[in-house]
């Protein structure tokens, strides 16, 4: 089968003629469909060869149509997916993202508490040591959350997509010497000893690539996250109060300096999903909407006024950043979710 891989993409005329063929097929199918519609009685009542002929013909055309579609898709083998996820797991745990490291450095410059400053400097030293020695900067290598943005022109071959991702987690945690921190049944609580199952979010996007973002999420900060339905009338002030209350309740347990992801709007499920997406945004980058960007700034200010500080041991840097994501919501609702990300703010994105 032809694929639009990098090897044969240069054969433009072939693609072009495929395009023409595809259109012809589509036109043909439409013609047949309208023929059947107009001659409903014929197809319905005349038994035998005539009907069979049409059915067979339609099947053949549909299959060709599907094959032509496949000509425009890019094949990605499940082994490639497993390998990509595996490497991303340990890379996320060994190498602290640049924006977070810069965040530590900026915070250390402004920190008012001498103890807080000392903690920030030790975190910088810890991250640098981990990178040099290829070892996890934090021992709680977490629940593995995987975001996959799957291009709609991708055809996955060789097996099941979700199984390939879970196999990647298994392989990454074993080969990367990461801690297995997952129990299979939440009530029986027996460790699965391979860090599966991870949580996988998929999104269909234009294009013929898959972007994986692996986010091994520590327990300390995830456990202090929260969601609530506010009354619409509570508005911005209500949102601010809920965020601050959540951060104060977390205190030192969430390992500050933290990154705060806030979701506003959507449904019960959507609001927590966008709060998690928000913690992936770069430290230093604001929301496009000016009023949301303003709210991010105000919240960051307010959070840093709580005095919680690095490790909850006092100081002027409790959070490195606040990112908000929003979604339209029901006229009766104002859902808010706060996802706290600790200073071990792991995230690794790879496009295949």
């Amino acid at each position: 089968m032809l694929t639009k891989s990098h090897d044969n993409i240069k054969v433009d005329h072939k693609i072009e003629s495929c395009e023409t063929f595809k259109h012809s097929c589509e036109r043909l199918i439409k013609k047949i469909e309208s023929y059947i519609l107009n001659n409903n009685n014929v197809v319905k009542h005349k038994q035998g060869q005539f009907e069979t002929f049409f059915n067979d013909f339609i099947t053949v055309v549909s299959i060709s149509h599907r094959k032509v579609d496949l000509l425009f898709m890019r094949n990605i083998h499940v082994d490639k997916i497993t390998e990509t996820v595996a490497i991303s797991c340990w890379e996320a745990c060994y190498y602290l993202p640049e924006d977070i490291l810069n965040g530590f450095q900026e915070a250390a410059k402004t920190e008012e508490s001498p103890l807080g400053k000392s903690i920030l400097n030790q975190l910088i030293e810890n991250a640098e040591l981990a990178a040099v020695e290829n070892r996890p900067y934090c021992h709680d290598t977490g629940l593995t959350v995987v975001f996959a943005e799957v291009g709609q022109d991708v055809h996955i071959e060789g097996g099941d997509f979700y199984e390939a991702v879970q196999n990647g987690i298994r392989k990454g945690y074993k080969e990367g010497y990461l801690r297995n921190s997952i129990v299979g049944d939440p009530l029986l609580r027996k460790n699965t000893n391979d860090n599966t199952p991870g949580v996988v979010h998929t999104k269909l996007v234009p294009g013929d690539k898959i972007k994986f973002t692996v986010l091994p999420k520590g327990g300390g900060s995830e456990n202090m996250s929260a969601m609530k339905f506010l009354l619409p009338g509570e508005g911005v002030e209500g949102v601010k109060k809920f965020v601050i209350d959540t951060i104060e309740a977390a205190g030192g347990k969430a390992c500050p300096p933290i990154v705060v992801g806030v979701g506003i709007g959507g449904s019960f499920d959507k609001v927590t999903e966008i709060a998690k997406e928000a913690i992936l945004r770069e430290v230093g980058s604001h929301h496009d909407e000016p009023h949301i960007a303003e709210l991010e700034k105000e919240l960051l200010d307010d959070i840093n006024k709580t005095g919680i500080g690095p490790q909850g041991l006092g100081g002027s840097n409790t959070a490195l950043w606040v990112s908000i994501e929003t979604h339209g919501c029901h006229i009766t609702a104002l859902p808010v979710a706060v996802n706290i990300q600790c200073h071990a703010a792991r995230k690794k994105s790879v496009v295949i």
């Binding site: 021992h139 801690r179 456990n223 205190g251 490790q311 041991l313 100081g315």
Partner: protein, 184 residues
């Protein structure tokens, strides 16, 4: 501030000298135990049995390290959230444990138990795991092998940095420091 060197086991006099905010470098033996090990230790006590190892006057470290790479003594290690051990800590202090190392603030019952039984809550920096892993010189499982990652481990540490967060006189470093930087 210069750090105070401490080599466990701790005497009552050692404990009484320490104040919230003191920076400590631990040298010598500490014991790793977390949720499942605590649960079992305390059920030993309830049944009138002894602990499998003598933990009187010792320091317990709430932690779960990553597996060591070939050639390493231990992987990365740092404390887990101490508050999860709140129900277990007072009876452990009553038994005779003199110090615990965790991260994050604790409940009132633990603060009270520090005063009542002359014991200390230390904190190591949560997630400082690569750096703290380097300060561990040997590690061995010494009890409850079947608990796997939650088994009790004996660690030999060198210049292992911790802070006194709750002392035996009612001092509370979290409360004290946060109040200084809170802006109304």
């Amino acid at each position: 501030m210069t750090a105070i060197n401490i080599t466990p086991p701790l005497t009552k006099e050692d404990v009484m000298k320490l104040k919230a905010g003191d920076e400590i470098l631990l040298n010598g033996t500490i014991y790793v135990a977390r949720d499942a090990a605590h649960k079992r230790l305390l059920s030993n006590l309830d049944n009138g049995e002894d602990f499998p190892i003598d933990l009187k006057n010792e320091i317990i470290f709430y932690a779960g390290p990553t597996p060591p790479k070939p050639g390493q003594v231990i992987g990365s290690i740092a404390p887990t959230t101490a508050a999860r051990m709140d129900p277990y800590t007072p009876p452990m202090f009553e038994y005779g444990v003199k110090g615990v190392i965790g991260k994050g603030p604790r409940g009132e019952n633990v603060k009270e138990a520090c005063k009542e039984h002359s014991a200390i809550c230390f904190s190591a920096i949560g997630g400082l795991s690569a750096l703290l892993g380097e300060r561990v010189k040997s590690a061995e499982v010494i009890a409850y092998d079947d608990l796997g990652p939650e088994a009790i481990r004996k660690l030999e540490v060198e210049n292992f940095p911790v802070l006194v967060v709750y002392d035996a006189h009612g001092g509370d470093l979290y409360e004290q420091e946060i109040a200084k930087y809170k802006k109304a």
